[in-house]
């Protein structure tokens, strides 16, 4: 399936899954516009804050709710617009988990510091979540 077809599907899904006046719908539309137009190199490490800005959402409680609902939806299995990036950060060291490490972390909930091989206590407190455009979006 080529990218334009995939993007068209992404654009249609929200109208099926959210009410007409739901603020999630325009937020998703803006995010799709951004992802389609962006240089692929620039959409491999997106933070919540960047998505908030792209989606045109403000720093209010209501817009935080919309942001969270939007992120939940576009990282979901139906749309797969964004994929998660898990980044381990400890002091000045950071390391993006590869697919194998990510699968292992999801399956076990534990993570070992790649420098030492020693399991990190409370690893969830040191693993940050970011986002990247999915492969489907990037197939330009």
């Amino acid at each position: 399936m080529n990218q334009s077809v995939v993007i068209e599907r992404f654009r249609n899904f929200p109208s099926e899954d959210f009410d007409e006046g739901d603020p999630v719908r325009p937020a998703i539309s803006k995010i799709i516009d951004f992802l389609v137009a962006a240089n692929p190199q620039n959409v491999r490490h997106l933070s919540f804050g960047m998505i908030q800005k792209v989606a045109g959402l403000k720093d209010s409680e209501e817009d935080h709710r919309t942001l969270y609902r939007t992120v939940s939806y576009i990282t979901g299995e139906r749309t797969q617009l964004l994929e998660l990036v898990f980044e381990y950060v400890m002091d000045d060291f950071s390391h993006i988990l590869d697919e194998e490490e990510e699968a292992d972390y999801k399956a076990t909930g534990s993570f070992s510091d790649p420098r030492t091989g020693v399991e990190v206590p409370d690893s969830a407190k040191h693993i940050h979540i970011y986002f990247k455009a999915s492969r489907a979006v990037l197939q330009k």
Binding site: S47, L67, R69, S72, Y73, T75, E77, R78, K106, D122
Partner: protein, 223 residues
């Protein structure tokens, strides 16, 4: 109060979600280690849907079963799950929710009063047609859209019925109990699946009665 934490660690996000169960349980869903984690998160989010529907019950009087079931599927799709209404699954289960290789199914039934025979249809569809006893797919629910008065009575009589049938037909609905936090509205049990394994079923009551004109009259009649 929903405010996203400054540091977006997995721990911070999950903490935020735990404090705001009405929000999409995104981090919980994405880091579900086990089927049990998936199911726990799914039921938190089903409860949100129940509450939303109950709040808007005045708008839902007279709606069809299909509409309610499709709304459940839509609710889960909006949260990022793969969710279908009337999907083929050994027949057509009303609601199918999937995430990775985990699956949950639901059968929704509208009742206006105690109606064990109709609820039995939904239950039997789950245990004899759509449900499985195998890991990662052995959780299901009968959603009881209760539009009549006294939902706890509807659910309580349904639980009594399951107990009676299980007494005659061991394994039909084992270990029936109602969790303290949702007493009168939710009943848990397990069915010994003929294909092997157990199918764990919750019967979840939705309190959708709404008739502001009839309620005072009914109260007076009781007095």
């Amino acid at each position: 109060m929903m405010r996203l934490p400054l540091t977006m660690t997995v721990a911070a996000l999950k903490e935020q979600e735990a404090e705001n169960p009405q929000m999409p349980q995104f981090a919980h869903r994405m880091t579900a280690k086990t089927y049990s984690d998936f199911i726990d998160t799914l039921y938190v989010q089903l409860e949100n849907f129940v509450r939303e529907l109950e709040r808007d019950r005045n708008y839902h009087q007279g709606v069809s079963e299909n509409l309610l079931n499709s709304a459940v599927a839509r609710h889960f799709r909006a949260l990022g799950y793969t969710a279908d209404f009337d999907k083929n699954n050994g027949g057509h289960a009303d609601i199918t929710v999937q995430f990775a290789d985990y699956e949950w199914i639901g059968e929704g039934k509208i009742v206006d009063s105690v109606n064990n025979s109709y609820l039995t249809k939904g239950y039997d569809q789950l245990v004899y047609r759509y449900g499985l006893g195998k890991p990662k797919a052995n959780q299901a629910a009968v959603l009881i859209y209760s539009f009549g008065p006294d939902t706890p009575r509807v659910v309580g009589k349904w639980a009594e019925h399951l107990i009676q049938v299980n007494a005659r037909n061991a394994g039909y609905a084992e270990g029936i109990y109602s969790p303290l936090a949702d007493r009168g509205f939710t009943v848990h049990c397990a069915h010994a699946h003929v294909g092997g394994g157990k199918l764990f079923i919750r019967s979840v009551g939705f309190q959708l009665y709404w008739d502001p004109t009839a309620a005072p009259a009914a109260r007076q009649a009781d007095a």
